[in-house]
Amino acid sequence: MTAGLTFNGINKSFGGAHVLRQVSLDVASGEFLSLLGPSGCGKSTLLRIIAGLERQDAGTVAIGGRRVDDLRPKQRDIAMVFQSYALYPHMSVADNIALPLRMRRLSGMQRLPLVGGLLPGSRTTQAGIAKEVTRTARALGIESLLARKPGQLSGGQRQRVAVGRAMVRNPAIFLMDEPLSNLDAKLRVQMRAEIKELHRRLGVTFIYVTHDQTEAMTMSDRVAVMAEGEILQVDAPQVIYADPANRKVAEFVGSPKINMLPARFGADLTHAAGTTFDVRARELAGTAGTLGIRPEALHLAEAPGTGIFTGRVRLLEHMGSDLFVHLDLPHDGEGGTLIARLLAERAPQIAFGQTLHLGVRTGRILVFAADGRRVQPDPAPAAVLRSYA
Amino acid sequence: MSLRRLGPVAALARHAVLLASGALMLIPFVWMVSLSLKPPGEIFRAGFSLLPEQWYAVENYSRALTASPLPRYMLNGVLVCGAILSLQIAICAPAAYALAKLRFFGREGLFTLVLIGLLIPHEVLALPLFILAYKLGLLDTYAALIMPFAVSPFGIFLFRQFFKSIPDDIVHAARLDGLSELAIVWRVMLPMAMPAVIAFSIFSIVSHWNDLFWPLIAVRSEQLMPPPLGIMAFKNEEAGSDYGPLMACATLVVAPLVVAFLAAQRWFVEGLGGGVK
């Protein structure tokens, strides 16, 4: 039974350190939501509050519309996969997966070693548990490993056992704390697909914590970008990328990083990097701010001009299909570096040290006010005129 | 952090049990100090009171310090422990460095010897070392107390482990700076291995200050006895009749390590608990 999740005004401090500030979010039932942010921003703490492993100082958590603040972790209908997997090293894979079921279905007496097995009912319950463990293991392709101990498994196999232990009791919500960060790059790509597939198959809510934007962007229905204990933006991955709410989100998402150019906004032109752009934001007129330009929004230009960057090629990085060009901007225009992502076919035209011109489509320039807020630029006068025509 | 927070009742029960067991652990210490403060009359009258009716501390402690050569025992303890520790560090550190960082013929063999040495308890060596000391005419000398412990396989092992964790690049850099190999040991490795040096020093000093077995075999003269042997001699002389000064003597022998322990608990626990691993 899947369930949605709501948390409202969550605050948490450790000693003097304010780790979460007024965090609120609604997660739809069956949604795959990622919490994305640099390490130390409070993602794990938030996840542990949802799980009930940590208590918030203020705010409420509700699962399936029911407040769970006073419930223990085992009463919350959640399961969690830990970064280090947290498998019990002295138990076999089968016992690891069976434990949550045993703790729920067997009474305290029935769980006792030796005598427990003799009590009425415990045989049939145990048999039922064993069947479910086998079914779960088969679904994850680890059936042959059931008798082994975690120490005898590879990283990927341990990962699957941890998922199995979470899966076996059909929780309403899956919590995952950087579950792939201990795997090597190749396995990570594979497990990414497997977890996505698992989500599709189970259809329950997933809350997935990661500091890896690729994971968040490729797997999620929505991404919540966090920084310094706050949620900055919650949106679908493509929206987060193309339409960031503020400077921090724009800078955290995207690789190579977005180009940020200090700018002065005029009445109908914007000055940045020694040139002018056909970008106007009336509310910012007369102030300083920033223009954000994604590397792939840049293209080669023939000659200098308005809205054309001119600079010296400092570094060329061949990435197979792409070519990253690092351009040193002239000092009279504040200096700085611009990174452009061009098609690899362009490579023969560009040499280290040469002067290069790069243009940008006005519509792809992101405008940020001095406080980091994103501002929608006003439509171009030409467009205004055309609409009157 | 590992176990969950206790409720108030459980927390209270925890304190009750630990205070009770702690009190039991301390009884011998408390009784020893208590007797060392009492006059003979009160001691033999028997009673539960910890503090004396008539303070007799000055008499007991001054008798302990004058009737037996206790100051001499303590001085011997300091001399012997100091000499042993200095020799051990001077001999073990270079060897540990060679084992950890240098390639030479016989390295594996030497390390095997160290491991074998680690395996052998000192009581096993007492008989042959006694004969050796006799043949060399060293019985009943400071040398007999010190020499058997001049090298410590445990020290070599511990320092080697620590040195191995220091990056090779630091050794290379020191060589480029013109340091000789011996200078690298003293000026680079040992200062970096300070935690291991402190832990080992505590281990060594505590072991040898407290050792009774070997001094019992190695020396006879009173002026060479270290504290445990001295206190045994004092007890036998007094034949148990003079409890006050005897307890004062015991208190003074135990005191230095106890005070040092209370001042540097962490290091002691590390040196004696962690060190054995």
Binding site: R48, K74, Y88, P89, M91 | A46, V124, E181, N210, G273
Partner: protein, 307 residues
């Protein structure tokens, strides 16, 4: 490859400086090497050799007697009593020390307050000079003026002459052994508890094992398994080496009721000066210690593989 081989002699890079590393290494290691050989290895071999002779220290002559010392050992009632006493002592002291040490460690770790204080109090006997503390114990156990008998009398319970009574002397020495080593076991267990990853407790809580006893059964005790084996062996080694209390408090008496292995070794070798026979006792002692230490090495190996 060929090109490399064909480089003419003259153009081959020459070693600029002779490789002094092995020489320096030998010089650094030589004192330790010589001393280990002289103070550990050769004496140990000598013990085995001496054990096959009838040498009495100070005697002018000695002869090879093969395994006769060992045969004599097995027939000697003192040695048999000593061996039996030592085993009994170990069998009592080791489980008690381990269990109490574990209990104290769990109690200390289960709360936040006064941790360092409790640890210090329980650890104190381990590092206090045992010879001096034995003297304190003797006063405590004194038949008339000792605290033990005074307390028992006040409670209306029977008293005993603890150190002079065949039935009580070994248990009392065992009690002192537990008192002395318990703090050591506790410290090892505390380190073991610290090294249990907190995520395991989190996982057990989510899996539904959130009661004190479930946590102990599912996480704490199994995770302490290897440490426990280690504690058992190390305490056993220390128990086998009990000497100071016997020498100071009982001299093996009364009627050999507290005769223990190391004390027998001492008496035979250094009081009776029966060097050959003492060496045979030493060999037995060495065999026990080496056996336990090798067992410990295997346990430590296991622990590494545990994760």
């Amino acid at each position: 490859m060929r090109a490399v081989v064909d480089i003419p002699e003259a153009t081959r890079p020459v070693r600029q400086r002779p490789d002094t590393e092995p020489i320096a290494a030998c010089l650094l290691a030589a004192p330790a090497f010589a001393l280990i050989l002289l103070l550990f290895i050769l004496p140990t071999l000598a013990v085995f050799v001496i054990a096959t002779t009838d040498w009495q220290f100070g005697a002018r002559s000695l002869s090879f007697v093969g395994l006769r010392n060992f045969a004599e050992l097995l027939a000697d009632s003192t040695f048999r009593i000593s061996f039996a006493n030592t085993c009994l002592y170990v069998l009592v002291v080791v489980p008690a020390t381990t269990a109490i040490g574990l209990a104290v460690a769990l109690l200390i770790e289960s709360g936040q307050s006064l941790r360092a204080f409790y640890r210090a109090v329980h650890f104190l006997p381990f590092m206090a000079t045992l010879a001096a503390m034995a003297v304190a114990w003797e006063a405590l156990l004194h038949p008339t003026i000792g605290l033990a008998n005074q307390t028992l009398t006040a409670l209306g319970l029977p008293t005993a002459n603890w150190l002079r009574d065949e039935r009580t002397v070994l248990p009392v020495l065992g009690l002192i052994g537990i008192w002395q080593n318990l703090g050591f076991a506790m410290v090892l267990f505390l380190a073991g508890l610290k090294s249990i990853p907190s995520e395991l407790y989190d996982a057990s809580e989510i899996d539904g094992a959130d009661g004190t006893f479930d946590r102990l059964r599912i996480v704490t005790l199994p995770m302490l398994g290897p440490v426990t084996m280690f504690v058992v062996i190390v305490v056993a080694l220390r128990a086998f080496q009990t000497f100071d209390t016997v020498k100071i408090l009982t001299q093996g008496g009364p009627a050999k009721a507290s005769e223990m292995l190391l004390y027998t070794l001492y008496v035979e070798s250094f009081e009776f000066l029966r060097t050959g026979y003492g060496a045979a006792v030493t060999v037995v002692f060495l065999a026990i210690v080496v056996g336990l230490t090798l067992l410990q090495a295997r346990v430590m190996d296991k622990r590494v593989h545990y994760q």
